[in-house]
Structures are given as structure tokens and as C-alpha cells.
């Protein structure tokens, strides 16, 4: 083949370039990972401020702060930004940082494309946010944008929303392809599939889900675009189409999407718990199989979001059974984590606190999910705050807590400095309390009959709404500690060792903290 010298850094710089071009032109997985993480944090703040706007309006019955049309825009944008702007990029950022280090690679498999995946995002989200200032206002039809509210009855800005979704889709697909190629192809010698860290495994499966469903999302928004501008009738019965067709296609994407937001979290927790329990993960093999089963099942449960659209009985039954089935592999995971803690030697540093809270609160969210899965009862729950409570339990103390746990866990590795542990713990406790005050009462108002996506409500829901709003502000302000802690840690502090944690295992801990610019220039041997 070629006679050139063949090491990772052939003929190239060994460190980052200076100035802004470092970030604009970079092909380095760590730089790109950092950019993803910062982007995600910014989006979390933006989406969070929208959530606080919602909560402020709902503090009391009556319309006080904002008008209904703006409220709907806030709800929509909050959902979209948190899902596509905060959680997904955060996981991609973590994958960028950690996957190459965990499999013993110098970088991602396709570094230039990696940079492109990232840089599409800021443009996509600028366009999405711009819609708020356009004539007629921004998207106001919920993050699920059901037709025909999002087609015939939508403000003109929906066209830009559609293109923004296309761009996000391109970005996600390329990011996922990159991760798969890295995992398949750049593993260090000796690292067989069944030796890969679980974070790598869960991301591999997540990447597969992404590639399978993001194009379906692209397809459904394309059909919307055609209905809006080219006179087609996909979602219009007058031409033989069906508004419910939209929902089927959307949820075929949408349900796997929610597992895209939780599988990497499972991976993170499966890394952290063994470290702080000082004990090997219980049931590694069953974890892998459980994750795969969840992913496969996720393709045949989508219509549990549509129990009330008037599906034929047989459809309702099918989707109820498949949905319930998902509790089995998820349960296996929960039991494995607990068995890992059982008879361990545990300490509770901030990452562990977040991981333990994850297990408890995610399981609570899972239980309410299971209740929603019971189709006849979902007729009462559907589109109420009970659903809102469910998905915030799996998303906020689920996905978001896992991201925070990961940040604390790997921050010393990334920066070479320890973060401030007491501030971390304070952040945890405020978040833990805040999250529960915010979202637990939503179960009650949901059961009592408060529909979601309403700017004003009947008087019997007033008390718990007030409680939830107070909690939301507590939780929101607690995040300032998080940001402060990260910034301080990035700028200096106690030096971290290579191992960082007493109980940590894996290739990433064999590198210095902070790791060299190109992680493994020589593939390490794994036995």
C-alpha cells in the first residue's frame, strides 16, 4: 500500500490550533465533543427559560403574563429545544469525547464529517428560534406538530421549522454513522464486542435507532411541506388522505426517539454505578441483550401515543401488549444496577448521587409509563398532566440527571482538574428536591383532569400548579451552581489523577488527565 509513515499524527500538528479557527475548522473529537456539550448547555438554558415562562403563567389561574398563542409557542419550542437541542446533542457530545477513548482509538472514524455534524446544529437552531420573530409567530402546534394544525392552520413560519428539522436530521444521521463506524472499525486489538464498555454498547444501539428513524421524521415533515405548499392531500380526508397518517409516521419516529434519549443514559449509569460501588457491573451480558430488546421493541409500540385516535380494537390490543413488554428488559436493567450496588463498597460522590437518583426517579417514570400503556386507562390519562409528569420523570431526572452525572464523572478527566465536590453535592440536592416538587404534583393534577398544553385552568388545579411552579424555579436556579462549578473546574483547581476515581476501570482512565490531543496514537492492547 502506501509507504508513508503511518501513525495517527502523521505530518500534522500535535496540539490544537489557536484562536477561533480551532473551533471552526477542527477535526478533533474532543474539541467537537466540547462544542456539542456547550451547545447543549446553552440550549438547555434557552429551553429551560421557556419552561419557566410556562410555569410562571401557570402559577395561578387566569391569563396574567402571556397570551395563549405565545403560550403555545413556548410549549412547542420548549419541547423541541429540550429534545433536539439539549438532550440529543449532549449525548452526542459525550459520545464524541468518550467513545474513541473507551475503545482505544485516536479519534472518530470520520473526523471532518464529525465537524460538519456539529456545525449544522447552531444554524438549524438559529433558524428554528428565528421563527419566533416572524409574522404570525413561531410553531404553535406542540412538539408533536399534528396535522392539520401544523399544515393548513399553521403560521407561515412552519416552512422554516420544517427546514430546520431537515437540517437537524442530517446532523443526527451523520453523527450516528460516525459513531457506528468508530465502534465497528476503530476498536483496539482485543476489544471484542462483548468487552466493550456499556456506554459504547448503548450508543451503538442508539446510533442504529437514529439512522433508522431520523429519515422517517424527514419523510413526515416533507409530506407536511408538500401539503402546505404543493397542494397534496396526505393529511386531508377531502383528497383521500388522513390526519392520523401523520401521527402514525410521526410516532414511528417519535417512540424510538424517546429511547434515543434514554439508552445512552443507561450506558452512563452502567459506567458510574460499578465505579462507586467498587464492584463489577452485575449482568453485563443481560444488559446488552436488554438494551437490544428495548431498541427492537421500540419499533412496534408507536401507537401507544394514539390510543384515543380511534384505532380499531385489534390495533389497540397489539400496541398495548407490545408496550407493556418493554417493562421486562427495562426491569432487567434496573435490577442489574441494584444488584451491582448490593454488597458493594459504596461511596457517594456527586456522579454517584445523580446515578442513584436516576435509578429511583427513572423507575418512577417507568411505572407511570406502564400505567399509560394500559390502553383503557390511557383514555383517562391521555393528554393530561399525568403524561407530562411521566415524561418529565424519564427525561429530567432521567436523561438530564444522567448527563449531569456524566459531566461530573468525566469532568476531571476532560479538564485535568477536580470540580468542587461540596458545590456538586449542593447542586444535586437542590436539583433532586426541585425536580420532585416540580413534577410530582403533576401526577395529581393530571389524574384530577387537567389537560396539557393549556395556558389557563380550572380552579381545582390551582394549588398543585403553584407548587409545581415554585419547584421549577428552584430547580432552574439550582442549575446556576452547575454552570458555575463547570466553569471553575475548566479554569483550574485541584489536579486530578489519571484514574480519578478509586474504583474506575476502562481504557479512558489509562490516559493522562487531561488526555492528549489525539487520544491513542498507538492502539492499546486489551486482554
Amino acid at each position: 500500500m502506501s509507504t508513508l509513515e503511518q501513525t495517527a499524527s502523521t505530518g500534522h500538528h500535535h496540539g490544537p490550533a489557536k484562536g477561533i479557527t480551532r473551533w471552526l475548522y477542527t477535526t478533533n473529537h474532543k474539541d467537537i465533543g466540547t462544542m456539542y456539550l456547550i451547545f447543549s448547555l446553552v440550549m438547555f438554558m434557552v429551553g429551560g427559560c421557556m419552561a419557566l415562562t410556562i410555569r410562571a403563567e401557570l402559577f395561578q389561574p387566569g391569563l396574567q403574563l402571556i397570551q395563549p398563542e405565545f403560550f403555545n409557542q413556548m410549549t412547542t419550542m420548549h419541547g423541541l429545544i429540550m429534545v433536539f437541542g439539549a438532550v440529543m446533542p449532549a449525548f452526542v457530545g459525550l459520545a464524541n469525547w468518550m467513545v474513541p477513548m473507551m475503545v482505544g482509538a485516536p479519534d472518530m472514524a470520520l473526523p471532518r464529517m464529525n465537524n460538519w455534524s456539529f456545525w449544522i446544529l447552531p444554524f438549524a437552531f438559529s433558524m428554528m428560534l428565528m421563527t419566533l420573530f416572524m409574522e404570525g409567530g413561531g410553531p404553535n402546534f406542540g412538539w408533536t406538530f399534528y396535522a392539520p394544525l401544523s399544515t393548513t392552520y399553521a403560521p407561515p413560519s412552519v416552512t422554516f421549522f420544517i427546514f430546520a428539522v431537515h437540517m437537524m436530521g442530517i446532523s443526527s444521521i451523520m453523527g450516528a454513522i460516525n459513531i457506528i463506524a468508530t465502534i465497528f472499525n476503530l476498536r483496539a486489538p482485543g476489544m471484542t464486542f462483548m468487552k466493550m464498555p456499556l456506554f459504547v454498547w448503548t450508543w451503538l444501539i442508539t446510533a442504529f435507532l437514529l439512522i433508522a428513524v431520523m429519515p422517517v421524521l424527514a419523510g413526515v415533515v416533507t409530506m407536511m411541506l408538500m401539503d402546505i405548499h404543493f397542494g397534496t392531500s396526505f393529511f386531508n380526508a377531502a383528497g383521500g388522505g388522513d390526519p392520523v397518517l401523520f401521527q402514525h409516521v410521526f410516532w414511528f419516529f417519535g417512540h424510538p426517539e424517546v429511547y434515543i434519549m434514554i439508552l445512552p443514559a443507561f450506558g452512563i449509569v452502567s459506567e458510574i454505578i460499578p465505579t462507586f460501588a467498587r464492584k463489577k457491573l452485575f449482568g453485563y451480558t443481560s444488559m446488552v441483550y436488554a438494551t437490544s430488546s428495548i431498541a427492537i421493541l421500540s419499533f412496534i409500540v408507536w401507537a401507544h401515543h394514539m390510543f384515543t385516535v380511534g384505532m380499531p380494537l385489534i390495533g389497540e390490543l397489539f400496541f398495548m401488549f407490545t408496550t407493556m413488554l418493554i417493562a421486562v428488559p427495562t426491569g432487567v436493567k434496573v435490577f442489574n444496577w441494584i444488584a451491582t450496588m448490593f454488597r458493594g463498597s459504596m461511596t457517594f460522590e456527586t456522579p454517584m448521587l445523580f446515578a442513584v437518583a436516576f435509578v429511583v426517579l427513572f423507575t418512577i417514570g417507568g411505572f407511570s409509563g406502564l400505567m399509560l400503556a394500559i390502553a383503557p386507562v390511557d383514555f383517562q390519562y391521555h393528554d393530561t398532566y399525568f403524561v407530562v409528569a411521566h415524561f418529565h420523570y424519564v427525561l429530567v431526572p432521567g436523561a438530564i440527571f444522567s448527563i449531569m452525572a456524566a459531566t461530573y464523572y468525566w469532568l476531571p478527566k476532560w479538564t485535568g482538574n477536580m470540580y468542587n465536590e461540596s458545590m456538586g453535592k449542593l447542586h444535586f440536592w437542590l436539583s433532586f428536591i426541585g425536580v420532585n416538587i416540580t413534577f410530582f404534583p403533576m401526577h395529581f393534577i393530571g389524574l384530577a383532569g387537567m389537560p396539557r398544553r393549556i395556558p389557563d385552568y380550572a380552579l381545582q388545579f390551582a394549588d398543585f400548579n403553584m407548587v409545581a411552579s415554585v419547584g421549577a424555579f428552584l430547580f432552574g436556579f439550582a442549575q446556576l451552581l452547575f454552570i458555575y462549578n463547570i466553569v471553575c473546574c475548566a479554569r483550574g483547581g485541584k489536579k486530578a489523577t489519571d484514574r480519578v476515581w478509586e474504583g474506575s476501570h476502562g481504557l479512558e482512565w489509562t490516559l493522562p488527565s487531561p488526555p492528549p490531543y489525539h487520544s491513542f496514537t498507538q492502539p492499546p492492547k486489551v486482554d
Binding site: 500500500m1 502506501s2 503511518q6 501513525t7 495517527a8 502523521t10 471552526l24 475548522y25 477542527t26 478533533n28 482509538a105 472514524a109 470520520l110 473526523p111 471532518r112 464529517m113 460538519w116 456539529f118 456545525w119 449544522i120 447552531p122 444554524f123 438559529s126 433558524m127 407561515p156 422554516f160 420544517i162 427546514f163 430546520a164 442530517i170 454513522i177 457506528i180 463506524a181 468508530t182 465497528f184 472499525n185 476503530l186 439512522i211 433508522a212 428513524v213 429519515p215 422517517v216 424527514a218 419523510g219 413526515v220 409530506m223 408538500m226 405548499h229 404543493f230 397534496t232 396526505f234 380526508a237 383528497g239 383521500g240 388522505g241 388522513d242 397518517l245 409516521v249 414511528f252 489525539h518
Partner: protein, 294 residues
Amino acid sequence: MSSATYYVPEESRWPILASVALFLMAFGAGSLLNALSAEAGGGAGMVTLLIGALLLGLILVGWFGHVIKESQAGMYSAQMDRSFRWGMGWFIFSEVMFFAAFFGALFYVRTLAVPWLGGEGAKGAANMLWPGFEATWPLLQTPDMELFPGPQAIIDPWHVPLLNTVLLVTSSVTVTFAHKALKRDNRGAIKLWLLATILLGIVFVYFQGLEYAEAYNELGLTLQAGIYGATFFILTGFHGVHVTLGTFMLIIIWLRILKGHFDSEKHFGFEAVAWYWHFVDVVWIGLFLFVYVF
């Protein structure tokens, strides 16, 4: 895995430029469509879209040119080659899923929505709202003929579409011959077989264009013709776009062959395009069966 053979490319300005171009295209297209729908002219949007598209085109030429240069300089190891293969493979899978969304829509309306509207099946009560509507497929009579006047007739599968099927299947064969020839390093044969593939692709697109003209001008089969027209055009339309793109890619590969690129060992670029071409072919078979024949 192979020993320490990994090439991390230098910093590159292509990605950020490509993002800007993509943004301009999306923004321009959005403004243009909105202006057209509001009947307000769309000059600015059109200009932005064109600038974005032009930019993206130039960037892709530059970016791929760069990659080709690196490849020719022998900087890519066998491992890198495998990464590219995984990348292309999964990209094609994503395209399959894109088409799956439209096929899914087609099956759903055919087997569920339209019969319901016509009064059949579990939700036949819907027919109350559309008195006189009868479910048929192809759907010549839409529920509301004023809003969505159905087509007078549909394309006969056994003329142009059959011919197109033959063309595409043949082109899949010719591209395989080209691949075989490449493996034998028979450069004369590669050029010929590739050229044949390209010509078949172009003829296919041409016939598809004729068919569209017939649909619009003679059959009343349009995008506005109700769900039959909608599914017909979205499926064949996106397929046509893919054929066009594939033809472009084939042309580039052909030019590279003319310049002496690729050898019997290393020809990922060639194979990627060949895979893509086969994928486009397989989608067509699906289209031919489910859009035209059944």
C-alpha cells in the same frame, strides 16, 4: 485490528462552509416557498437559495476533490477504507428508511384510510361525511372532487414504466460488469460499461420526465389530484431525484476512471457509487410493483 495505522485529517474549513451553505439553502427555500404561496414574488428567497446551492456545489467539489487527492496520495489505510464502507452502508440504510416512510404512507391510505372513507371496515362511519364516495384504488374519484379533482386515468404500467424497469435493471447489470472489469484491471471495459450505465440512467430520467408531462397534460394526474397523485409523485419524484444524483456520481466516477484513478485493490469510491446505484434500482422495483402495477 491492523497495527497503528490511522489517519486523522488536518483541520478543514469545508464543514463550516458547508453548514453556512446549507443554512442559506434552507432559509432561501423557506422564503421562496412562503412568498410563492402568498403570491408575493420570491426574488430574495430565490437568490438566497441559488447562492446556497451554488456554494454547496462548490464546496462538495472542493471537499471531495480534497479527499480524492488524499486517497491518491495513499494516505488512507485499509482501516480507513473500512470506515468509509461502514459510512456509506449506513447512509444507504438511512435512505431506505426515508423511502420506507413514503411506502408506509402509501400502504396505510390504500388499505385503511381510503376504505374507511368509502364506508368499509372498522371505521366505515366516516362515509357519513362523504356521501356518495366510493373507495377504489387507484383513487380516481376523491371524497371532495372540488378541492382535489381526481385524475381521469393513471399511467399504464406496461408501457413506459415497464421500459424504465428494464432500463434500470440492465443498468444494475452493467455497473456490476464494470465492477468485475475493475477487479480484473481491464480499464477499457470499465469505461464502456460505466458509460453504458450512465446512458441508461439518463434515458431513464428522460422517460420519467415524459411520463410526468403526460400525467400532467393528459391524465389530470397531478400533485393536487388527491392521495393517489400525492403518493405517486412523492415516491416517483424522490426516486427520480436519487437517480439523477446517482447518475451524477457515476459520471464523476467515470471521469476519475478516465484519469486513471482506482485499481483492482482500492476502489472504495467506485463501490460506494455502485451500491448506491443498486439501492436506487431496488427502490424502483418496489415502486414499479406497488405504485404502478398493484
